[in-house]
């Protein structure tokens, strides 16, 4: 077993989850110019809902995933209603703080109910590693990568071919023109927040078997945010590349520098990107404000 390829492959698995969180952020940002700091709590809610459905209600895994998607989508819609819509006329910074506040409320509401006791769920796939070429990987991690790839493919098809997907793209480009076409812009916002948040929830239920469930799971917002920045914050492919990059660099940094360095890696990546390439890998050049 060689170390570096091994670290890269497991980094890709973690990174694909960061990518999912990042895509959720990007979708909402593109539609509404707001970074949703409650996105981490969608992850937490997704994980807890997964735990409830699977461990407590003994529902089949796939049913649980569908319920998680619906539940975390609802979280997104609530955040939109509470933190975004009433503050439409406020500066973006105010709205971003409001999303942060709603996120804190959600997190602490969960803590109130289930305290800080960590929970776990077991995934459907085995955690016994198998050998592919020279690297070992668990079917669990393979399934995560496959699921994320599938979700991304579905998203691409959705935005390209469905009426709602096209309406979302149109609204992201010009809200005024979209409303002139008969598109209800508030409705599109609500659905975009739901979709972005559902992706976070999916990340939560996928990550739960790997890292366990606790109220601090929302901290995955940090690598997710960095992934989005690396990708330019408006690009889905950018968010995927960014997520994988952060995941891989975390792994490499954790082994070759020090294990406590792992948590620092996303911030190092963030600062480096902002200094060297402020618009990210896939971002458009900044327009100068007149």
């Amino acid at each position: 077993m060689e170390l570096v390829p091994q670290l890269i492959v497991s980094g890709i698995a973690a990174g694909s989850l960061y990518a999912l969180v990042a895509i959720g952020l990007v979708l909402i940002y593109k539609a509404t110019d707001i970074v949703n700091f409650a996105q981490g709590e969608s992850v937490t809610v997704g994980a807890y809902m997964g735990w409830l459905c699977i461990t407590q209600f003994r529902l089949p895994y796939f049913v649980a995933v569908v319920l998680v998607l619906a539940g975390s989508a609802l979280v997104g819609m609530i955040v939109e209603r509470v933190a975004y819509r009433p503050l439409l006329k406020s500066p973006p910074f105010t709205v971003i703080l409001a999303t942060l506040a709603v996120g804190l409320i959600i997190k602490n509401a969960i803590r109130l109910v289930w305290q800080d006791t960590p929970r776990t769920i077991s995934g459907v796939f085995s955690a016994e590693p198998i050998e592919i070429g020279s690297v070992l990987i668990t079917p669990e991690r393979l399934a995560i990568m496959f699921t994320v790839a599938l979700v991304v493919a579905l998203l691409v098809l959705f935005f390209r071919f469905s009426k709602l997907g096209k309406a979302m793209r149109a609204t992201a480009q010009s809200q005024e023109a979209a409303s002139l076409m008969g598109i209800s812009v508030p409705g599109i916002f609500s659905k975009t927040w739901a979709l972005g948040s559902a992706l976070g929830g999916l990340a939560g239920v996928l990550i739960a078997p790997l890292v366990g469930i606790n109220t601090e799971l929302g901290a995955v917002l940090v690598p997710g945010f960095v992934a989005a920045v690396v990708g330019g914050f408006t690009s889905i492919p950018g968010a995927i590349v960014g997520g994988i990059l952060v995941g891989v660099l975390e792994n490499l940094g954790g082994v070759f520098i020090s294990s406590s360095f792992k948590q620092v890696v996303p911030f190092v990546v963030l600062i480096t990107v902002l200094m060297v390439l402020p618009t990210g890998l896939f971002g458009k050049p900044l327009r100068k404000a007149v």
């Binding site: 023109a177 409303s179 002139l180 076409m181 008969g182 209800s184």
Partner: protein, 245 residues
């Protein structure tokens, strides 16, 4: 369509100070006036992009002064906004499809897209291209075709000639005339008063948020005030026809 005493504000600034006029069915009505006269605001108030604070707007017996844009489109009023506001990163075909967003008759929508390509053959060639990559004239064609996709009864155009070469402008105006002949009423806002009055049936002149003149085209063309202010001619019946520079 009928406006009665419409007042619209931008913040504390009163942009429309009681605008009243009608657009008779099947006619082209030109809305003339200088910069800041309130022409664009009038169209925005009708389409619901800016809500009128006072007055009434009635369309086919329905009051629409408080309706949001998506409802106004549904009732059959479509706006081709100033600057076109195309979905620049979407293809020409996608722009047209979105114009039919409220419709559910997909076979008819396909036929209407086909019709748009017949009307503007260049758009057929460019249909898979991002709308933002087209020339100004082509973008104006997309904007008009996109608005027609909702099958409006009233089409409003805000400065369709702005920034376009004279030959293209003539083509656009010919298209507008054809659209009227198909039975769609037209409300046309133009800086280019000569051009607008050449195809219009009626005209209204706005000045600082008020209708100051109205009449059919012959009346407006022979009015010395209109000639002087908007047609660039000397006042008086004996005025030379040449355009002054």
């Amino acid at each position: 369509m009928k406006l009665d005493g419409v007042e619209t504000f931008y913040g504390a600034v009163k942009a429309l100070k009681g605008v009243s006029f009608t657009v008779p069915d099947g006619s082209i009505v030109a809305l003339l006036g200088g910069n800041g006269a309130g022409k664009t605001t009038t169209l925005r108030s009708i389409s619901g992009l800016t809500t009128a604070r006072k007055g009434t707007i009635e369309f086919n017996g329905t009051r629409i002064e408080k309706s949001p844009p998506e409802r106004v489109v549904g009732l059959g009023i479509s706006l081709v906004p100033q600057g076109r506001l195309l979905f620049a990163e979407l293809t020409v075909a996608e722009n047209l499809e979105l114009g039919a967003y409220l419709r559910h008759d997909s076979a008819e929508i396909k036929r209407d897209i086909e019709k748009a390509y017949e009307q503007f053959p260049i758009l057929r060639q460019k249909r898979a291209q991002e709308a933002g990559t087209l020339s100004g004239g082509q973008q104006q064609m997309v904007a008009i075709a996109r608005s027609l996709m909702s099958r409006p009864k009233l089409l409003m155009l805000d400065e369709p000639s702005l920034g376009l070469a004279p030959m293209i402008v003539a083509e656009i105006f010919e298209t507008i005339r054809k659209i009227r002949d198909d039975g769609v009423s037209i409300l046309l806002v133009e800086q280019n008063a000569n051009m607008a009055l050449s195809i219009a049936n009626f005209g209204y002149v706005l000045e600082s948020g008020k209708v100051v003149m109205s009449g059919n085209v012959a009346q407006l063309l022979s009015d010395p005030r209109v000639q002087q202010a908007y047609l660039g001619q000397e006042a008086g019946p004996a005025a030379p026809q040449a355009v002054r520079h």
